[in-house]
């Protein structure tokens, strides 16, 4: 039973149970179990095609699953939609779309507004605050077509912040961003955790994993391992996730080394 384990007093923040997803009879995710009990920054790590994005989309009911159950805070997704935030991959939208940065961030408030109601002064003030947090207040009225990749990512992040969720899914927020944006995102992630939120981040670059995340889940169609980064992000587990590919082994070595000197 989901959430009925030992410390079942408070339900798990996220309980993904026995989830299998297939595209045209080819499994993409196989029997994945993932439970999060404490607020954390969790890095979702795995090779290309491991099903990282699919897991997120399945958790958000954007992709149909063959089997499995997903509960948030002990409830179904439909009951807690507004408490779940999502940052899709940056490339998933047309950045030439005729809206301003503020418009995009305001979309984060749409769910709370409900049908037909338009965002008002209150929502705009909240959206500006979120832009402030990602360091883009001055760009509120710019067209999104003029943004750099890093600024696009920050805009998406601000939109998610505007939703004021308790649990966030982020699909590769660090992909292809400049150094300043990387720092900005990292500090916001820490901020969210300090406020008791949970963030699940699909992440590609192994080297920065120990620095960014306190929890990791290693995924390759099946869940290989999940737990505290210090104990789970090991060469052994990474080998199980990535197999013995040379280039990856290199990265693994560097990642593990990078982990060691940290106090």
């Amino acid at each position: 039973m989901p959430g009925a384990d030992s410390n079942a007093m408070s339900p798990a923040l996220l309980d993904i149970h026995d989830v299998t997803v297939a595209y045209q009879r080819r499994p993409v995710l196989w029997d994945v179990d993932l439970t999060i009990r404490e607020p954390c920054l969790l890095g979702l790590i795995g090779p290309n095609g491991a099903g990282k994005s699919t897991l997120i989309k399945t958790a958000l009911d954007l992709t149909p699953r063959v089997s499995g159950a997903i509960r948030y805070f002990g409830k179904t997704l439909a009951e807690v939609r507004q408490r779940i935030g999502y940052v899709p991959q940056r490339e998933s939208v047309d950045w030439d779309f005729p809206v301003s940065v503020l418009d995009v961030v305001l979309m984060g408030t749409y769910g709370r507004l409900g049908w037909f109601r338009r965002p008002g002064a209150k929502e705009k003030a909240a959206a500006r605050e979120c832009l402030d947090m990602v360091g883009m207040r001055a760009m509120a009225h710019q067209q999104i077509g003029q943004l750099s990749g890093g600024q696009q990512q920050r805009t998406f992040l601000a939109r998610a912040l505007a939703q004021d969720a308790d649990l966030y899914f982020m699909d590769e927020p660090f992909a292809g961003v400049d150094a300043a944006t990387e720092r900005a995102i990292f500090s916001i992630l820490g901020d969210l955790r300090d406020r008791g939120k949970t963030v699940i981040v699909v992440h590609h670059e192994l080297r920065s994993v120990p620095q960014f995340f306190d929890q990791v889940a290693l995924l390759n169609v099946r869940l290989v391992a999940q737990g505290a980064t210090a104990t789970t992000f090991t060469e052994d587990n990474l080998l199980k996730t990535y197999g013995g590919r040379l280039s990856i082994l290199d990265a693994v070595g560097q990642a593990v080394q990078a982990q060691e000197p940290t106090p």
Partner: protein, 394 residues
């Protein structure tokens, strides 16, 4: 030729105005959602249904014809989705196949109908290129209801449509019935196409959907304004096209409507305030001239003699004589340079500016070397921002 506004002309103009407006608005969403070709396929797919419903109902009843067109149009769009889903065909191939197969079938049926003794061939054929002259009060009633209905739905669901058109997945994650909203938008597209068929015709209705929105894109970056402008362009194209067609014998309406739509598009393409060709060219020229001026200033500062002969074209520039002269003249006009003994030297003001340019470039190069990861931000700096930052002078 009758230029007066008879009752019938007024009727037709009101009809096409509503049609153009609705098509412009819905077409905008189609363009933004990358569905420009769906409208085209839809229209072509409507033809066989039109003919079949003629066979079944037997006479030329407008409403039953449109119902047939509606159903076969939807069948066409369904066929495209099915081909994409169940085969390895990509969307463009699926659209091309459905469009041509349905249209071919429609033409075959049309020629069969033309051989039926007493079959009103001309009546059906006007659906291919469109004809507004035969519009009745009844038709206008239908157009009014559907066009105003479409506009009302877009106003009502503006926020929701904006969201799903920009980011369908995010909308879904937020709990919106994104697929259903998208389906509603697609149904509005179907309705706009079918209602427009008699007036603009199977072949060109897609152009009335796409061109106003594409033209409006050259003027604005705001969705609301875009929809409004697109509707305006649609109304203009529809009304002028229908009006000219009413006054010229034997010119079908569809092509004329598209001619006027294209005119709007061409004007927007050249003069549009956002990415219009003219504006882009001017911007590029301004940038190039400023760049050339800064280069000349820096060169003068670095030269020992402090001057450049008018007839000399410094080698690294690779400029034509005319371009070089113009840069010098402009510099003198802005009091950055002064003519002296058949050459130019820096003025007092020019020396200060040149120093800034040189300092800026040097720091820039250093910053790019020491902080290559900040290159995107550094590229945004220019002389004016350096002025504001009080850049340290050497």
């Amino acid at each position: 030729m009758n230029l007066g506004f008879t009752y019938n002309t007024m009727l037709v103009l009101a009809g096409v105005a509503l049609l153009g407006g609705a098509a412009g608005v819905i077409g905008c969403f189609a363009v933004l959602r990358r569905r420009s070709l769906t409208g085209d396929a839809l229209a072509h797919a409507a033809l066989p249904g039109l003919c079949l419903s003629y066979f079944i109902v037997g006479e030329r009843n407008r409403h039953s014809l449109l119902l047939g067109a509606f159903l076969s149009g939807i069948a066409g769009v369904g066929a495209i989705s099915a081909l994409r889903r169940w085969t390895r065909l990509k969307e463009d191939a699926a659209i091309a196949i459905v469009l041509s197969v349905f249209f071919g079938l429609g033409i075959v049926l049309l020629s069969v109908i033309s051989r039926i003794p007493g079959g009103p061939r001309a009546g059906l054929e006007s659906f291919i290129l469109g004809k507004t002259a035969g519009m009745t009060r009844d038709d206008l009633g239908l157009i009014t209801i559907l066009a105003l209905g479409t506009l009302a739905i877009v106003v009502l669901f503006y926020k929701e449509f904006k969201l799903i058109t920009f980011d369908l997945e995010f909308a879904g994650a937020q709990g919106w019935p994104a697929r259903s909203l998208d389906f509603l938008l697609q149904m509005l597209l179907v309705v706009a196409v079918i209602v427009g068929l008699p007036a603009v015709g199977v072949v060109l209705i897609a152009a009335l959907l796409v061109i106003p929105g594409a033209a409006a894109r050259f003027w604005t970056q705001r969705l609301g304004t875009l929809l409004f402008l697109s509707a305006l362009f649609g109304v203009f194209a529809g009304v002028t096209g229908a009006w000219v067609s009413a006054n010229l014998e034997r010119v079908p309406t569809g092509p004329l409507v598209i001619v006027f739509a294209s005119l709007v598009f061409l004007i927007s393409l050249v003069f549009g305030s956002r990415r219009g060709l003219l504006g882009q060219w001017l911007q590029q020229r301004t940038y190039r001239r400023r760049f050339e001026q800064e280069r000349l200033l820096a060169m003068l500062l670095e030269r020992e003699t402090g001057m450049i002969w008018i007839n000399e074209i410094p080698r690294p520039f690779g400029w034509t004589k005319r371009r070089f002269r113009r840069t010098m003249d402009q510099g003198v006009k802005e009091r950055l340079l002064e003519y002296r003994d058949g050459g130019v030297i820096l003025s007092h003001e020019g020396t200060a500016r040149a120093a800034l340019v040189v300092a800026m470039r040097r720091s820039w190069r250093e910053l790019l070397q020491t902080h290559p990861q900040e290159a995107p931000a550094l590229l945004r700096l220019d002389l004016s921002s350096a002025d504001a930052m009080d850049f340290p002078l050497p």
